[in-house]
């Protein structure tokens, strides 16, 4: 705190602390905590509540009938008897309205019960989708690493400066084009009457329902997120002194040994970042499964979360699902940090 005060004085320090506080508490920690809190309770209306709703409906109907009776009476010629009857009906209506108010008061306060129910109701089929999502994301991450490591090494160490600049341009363009459009390009390829099935047809094969089977999601996932692996690895390999590689080669080290002993260890922080980003984006992607599925399959966990929030409007269960996904991602981050022996400061750069 002292160093902050020394640099900025009391007013600016207060402003800095205030803004940081708003961000950390109001936009990061607070929302997460409320989401987690919400995942641990549900509103219980129970059998009694349903009963109350029926009673309220009945009372409303009776009030309606009484109003009609009253209107009939009001249409008659004025007399003492008529006024008395109207007063009688008014009294009954008032009584019933009071009852309705009382019932409604009880109806709108369902019981808030804290439990693990939102997690335990996930059930076998949803759990299977969760596991499938995690495993598929790990697979996408591994494919991305295998595909991207040679490319990153090529740009950083093998290509001439001009060629490297050109390759860089070739990597940045597909990386920067909006994710939805990249997925859309694959929709055109994998659609039932798309390019892939057109080519298969030329070869005499039956059309393959890529979108209806969920395989389209996986193919598009790899394409959409593969490049998030290239740049972090490139950034770390670029800082490796080329003379180290030359020296190893001069001493007779085979290529795979050079990579195993020199390049890969040096690239560890970049690989960790690439894996974390690819996994997180894949597991948390809503756009790809949204665009790449047709029919009834719901192959991706994020779709279940979306449905809980915006279709069945059960935010409590939705929160539990979202928190489950978040935990999976946090575990993955820590696993990568352990595996590649890097700290949080190395990761976020």
């Amino acid at each position: 705190m002292n160093s902050l005060l020394r640099s900025f004085g009391p007013y600016l320090t207060a402003l800095i602390v205030l803004l940081s506080g708003v961000w950390v508490v109001g936009m990061i920690v607070g929302p997460q905590l409320i989401m987690v809190e919400q995942s641990f309770w549900h509103l219980d209306r129970g059998g009694v509540a349903v009963n109350i709703t029926v009673q309220i409906d009945n009372e409303y109907n009776e009030v309606d009938f009484l109003s009609f009776d009253k209107m009939d009476l009001e249409a008659l010629a004025p007399s003492a008897e008529r006024d008395m009857k109207i007063a009688e009906i008014d009294a009954v209506i008032a009584e019933k309205k009071a009852r309705i108010a009382d019932l409604e008061a009880r109806e709108v306060i369902p019981e808030k019960i804290y439990s693990m129910r939102n997690y335990t109701i996930m059930g076998g089929s949803h759990l299977a989708i969760f596991i499938k999502t995690i495993l598929a994301s790990v697979a996408v991450t591994m494919i991305a690493f295998v595909v991207c490591y040679p490319m990153a090494y090529t740009v950083a160490k093998l290509a001439t400066p001009n060629k490297a600049a050109l390759i860089m341009l070739g990597l940045i363009v597909p990386y920067a084009i909006n994710e939805l459009l990249r997925v859309f390009a694959w929709l055109m390829i994998l659609n039932y009457n798309g390019v892939a099935n057109f080519l298969l047809g030329l070869l005499g094969f039956e059309p393959v329902p890529f979108l209806e089977s969920g395989s389209g999601v996986f193919i598009a996932m790899v394409y959409a997120y593969v490049l998030f692996m290239v740049f972090p690895i490139y950034n770390t390999i670029e800082t490796l002194d080329t003379s180290q590689i030359e020296a190893a080669r001069d001493m007779g080290a085979p290529t795979w040994q050079i990579h195993r002993k020199i390049v890969l260890p040096h690239a560890k922080p970049g690989i960790a970042v690439g894996c974390i980003m690819t996994f997180m984006l894949t597991a948390g992607s809503y756009s790809v499964p949204y665009i790449m599925t047709r029919g009834t399959v719901e192959p991706w966990f994020t779709q279940l979360i979306y449905n809980k929030f915006f279709e069945s409007l059960n935010w409590n269960t939705g929160s539990a699902y979202a928190f489950t996904l978040l935990i999976a991602c946090v575990i993955f981050v820590f696993l990568m940090m352990r595996l590649f022996k890097v700290g949080i400061k190395d990761i976020a750069k």
Partner: protein
């Protein structure tokens, strides 16, 4: 440090490498080329296998699409709100983390970068829930706040990178000569950060406009350009979507080329200075 010289390698591996690069870039660009081509096809669903002749009519169809235009306006409203929020927050965070000598430093830093490691949909959901507690339902406001929660992390990292290269003694000297903290901040710190403020604004703008996953979970009944594109891909698919693709591809190529040229020039200058 970074080395301009490249590693020498044999002819056999050069062939293997070239084949690998050819496959890689075919894989990367062929889908995009197909998407662009279908935007010029007369046929009224996006396709390249059924070719009905060249046309520019889908550009006209897109230009008359009022929901796309309103989405674009919303995208910019959100983007400017995000810039207005994430620059001060990122700057404050960067100052706090780089100048605070506390044992909680790593923890604070970890929390501030955590949104970058969190799936976007969870940022959207938690913001939506948080503001519902305060009686605010999903819309442009919550979408902007949800986006700003992670875009602030980007701006913070950019400001931190810049601050690392700052010569603190300049500030100290100014203070020794009797300048107030506010004067030092205005005359020395802010001018030093100015280039980063510009680049951070551009990055924040691009990140915000591009965003889908966070936005779709926090925007309620409203729409942005990108969420509208998303729903068109599922319902009411037409080559007008391909035209958007063409526009995005052209903009991206121009920006990326400018970026690469700029970067190469910086590199060359750095090499020249180094000697």
């Amino acid at each position: 440090m970074s080395n301009v010289s490249q590693v020498a390698f044999g002819r056999g591996s050069r062939i293997v490498l070239n084949i690998y690069m050819l496959i890689f870039f075919t894989y990367m660009f062929l889908p995009l080329i197909l998407m662009v081509a279908a935007g010029f096809n007369e046929f009224d669903t996006p396709s390249v296998t059924v070719w009905r002749g060249f046309t520019l009519k889908w550009f006209g169809v897109l230009a008359e699409d009022s929901r796309m235009w309103s989405g674009l306006v919303n995208s910019f409203i959100i983007a400017f709100a995000v810039i207005a929020v994430s620059l001060p927050l990122g700057l404050a965070g960067a100052f706090l983390v780089s100048r605070l000598d506390s044992r909680y430093n790593t923890l604070i830093y970890g929390i501030m970068v955590s949104p970058l490691l969190t799936p976007g949909i969870i940022l959207g959901i938690s913001t939506l829930i948080f503001w519902r507690e305060a009686g605010v339902s999903g819309g442009l406001f919550t979408a902007a706040i949800a986006q700003a929660s992670y875009i602030s992390s980007y701006t913070m990292l950019m400001f931190m990178a810049r601050l690392e290269r700052q010569d603190i003694s300049l500030e100290e000297a100014a203070k020794d000569l009797g300048a107030s903290h506010l004067q030092v901040f205005r005359r020395i710190t802010m001018p030093f950060l100015k280039p980063t403020i510009l680049t951070a604004s551009v990055i924040a703008l691009l990140q915000s406009i591009e965003n889908y996953n966070t936005t779709i979970f926090s925007i309620g009944g409203d729409h942005t350009l990108v969420t509208e594109i998303g729903s068109r891909m599922r319902f009411g698919l037409s080559p007008a979507v391909n035209v958007i693709g063409i526009i995005f591809v052209v903009i991206t190529i121009v920006c990326a080329a400018l970026y690469v040229i700029f970067r190469e020039r910086e590199k060359a200058r750095a090499a020249a200075i180094a000697g």
